[in-house]
């Protein structure tokens, strides 16, 4: 279980996270939604220590992730992250991108790392792209390499930070398809997304955030049919979500 207790984050004079408390069950997939600037990405980035909260505690089971470097490393070893801007290592080919952490962190030999990396790339449909550099890949392909890079480390949980926000509609569908298939295969994740239909389909629970606060944590089916808060109702009507599935 991931326990988030009274998390606050200030950036200069803006209060991005305001007394956020929530418990994430690792057996359930969550989607964090809300308008831009609601603090959803910041919350996600705090979970693996890319952002250090101004105050508050994050514990994974009994381990306080900010108490020591070892604790944070332990947390990160079980948690993968996929970014909006892909963040592939620009000087490495697709396969090298996936192999790098396998060799440096998991201490695999080159041969083992290549095997694991190629399986991961095959899984996201990129078996023909091993030796291409990031600048030779489309946005959708880049994001799929980045997903493969994360999966290859066999994390228990993957954090997706707006994985399709930098993609055009066609590539968005391509990447969402991959994520959906992975979730169907049993991958657990916490995703921050603006794709409402996708959130409804993939997530068991919806976390709705507004102005640095969590307003509701509601099972997905209920959230989209009868959100509890007025703010969430407004949000859904503004995003013109009609409850249809693709």
């Amino acid at each position: 279980m991931i326990y988030v207790n009274r998390l606050n984050k200030h950036f200069q004079d803006s209060h991005v996270l305001n007394e956020v408390s929530i418990t994430f069950d690792p057996h359930i997939t969550y989607a964090i939604i809300g308008s831009s600037g609601s603090g959803k990405s910041t919350l996600l980035r705090c979970l693996n220590g890319l952002e250090t909260p101004t105050s508050g505690v994050i514990k994974i089971d009994d381990v306080d992730i900010f108490a020591s470097k070892d604790n944070l490393a332990k947390a990160r070893s079980n948690m993968g992250m996929v970014f909006q801007s892909f963040n592939l290592f620009e000087h490495k080919t697709a396969i090298e991108n996936v192999m790098f952490a396998l060799i440096k962190v998991k201490q695999h030999t080159k041969e083992e790392a290549f095997k694991i990396a190629s399986q991961a790339l095959d899984k996201v449909g990129l078996s023909h792209r091993y030796n291409n550099y990031p600048h030779q890949l489309s946005g959708g392909e880049k994001q799929r390499v980045s997903i493969a890079r994360t999966l290859a480390m066999s994390p228990q949980l993957v954090l997706f930070d707006e994985p399709t926000s930098a993609l055009d509609p066609e590539m968005t569908i391509e990447v969402l398809k991959v994520i959906k298939a992975l979730v169907k295969d049993g991958l657990k994740c916490i995703l921050v997304t603006h794709e409402m239909t996708f959130a409804k389909e993939v997530a068991d629970m919806i976390v709705y955030m507004d102005q640095g606060k969590i307003l509701e944590v509601t099972p997905s089916d209920d959230f989209f049919t009868q959100p509890q808060t007025l703010r969430a109702q407004q949000f859904l009507s503004h995003t013109q979500f009609k409850g249809e599935t693709q």
């Binding site: 890319l50 990160r76 970014f83 592939l88 000087h91 952490a101 440096k104 890079r149 480390m153």
Partner: protein
Amino acid sequence: MNIDFTRIIPRIPYLLEGVQVTLMIALVAALIGSVLGFTIALITSKKGPLGKLLFLFVDFFRGTPLYFQLFFYHYGLPQVIPGFLPTAYHSAFVIFSINSAAYLSEIFRAGIQSIDKGQIEAAKALNISTWDIVVGIIIPIGAKNVLPAIINEFITLIKETSVAAVISVNEIMRRHTIVAGTTFRAFESLIIVGLIYYTITKTLSILGKIVERKLRYDLR
């Protein structure tokens, strides 16, 4: 016009021996300066009191002439530090190293800042150690971005070693002074010296271009 190379030609080997000295000072300064400069760059690109102190140090060495720095170390310090009597080579090695560290640290700092933070975050999220991030990501990407500036700095360094003549280091310019003084053929000697310097720097810049082409993964 009175140009006569006959008296200079026998002195050419003597002038050429200065190339060794010039290159040795430049090489030592480039090596020590790179290591020192990179360390300074890593520290100053993070916020902290040590970074501010080092920045002041860098600023001082960039803000005063090399000529002054050599004189200060070689003739100034011995007056106030009892028993400190550096040889000309000692002074040249120390000052050229520190001076190029100061310039290189600024280049390296720009290189580090040119790296997209997202890639470093991705590496952190993958639990890659700081050491492996520096060696495996920051250095290779940064090197590509700053290589032209570094080559440029090395060329400047080679040219500036000529200043070491003022503390009697036996490099090319110092040898020229001696040759011109004994033969009274300054013009001819200078032509040779100019050709020597130009050959060295041109070779280096061609080598630099070759290395640069190898590092440009974005052109593959």
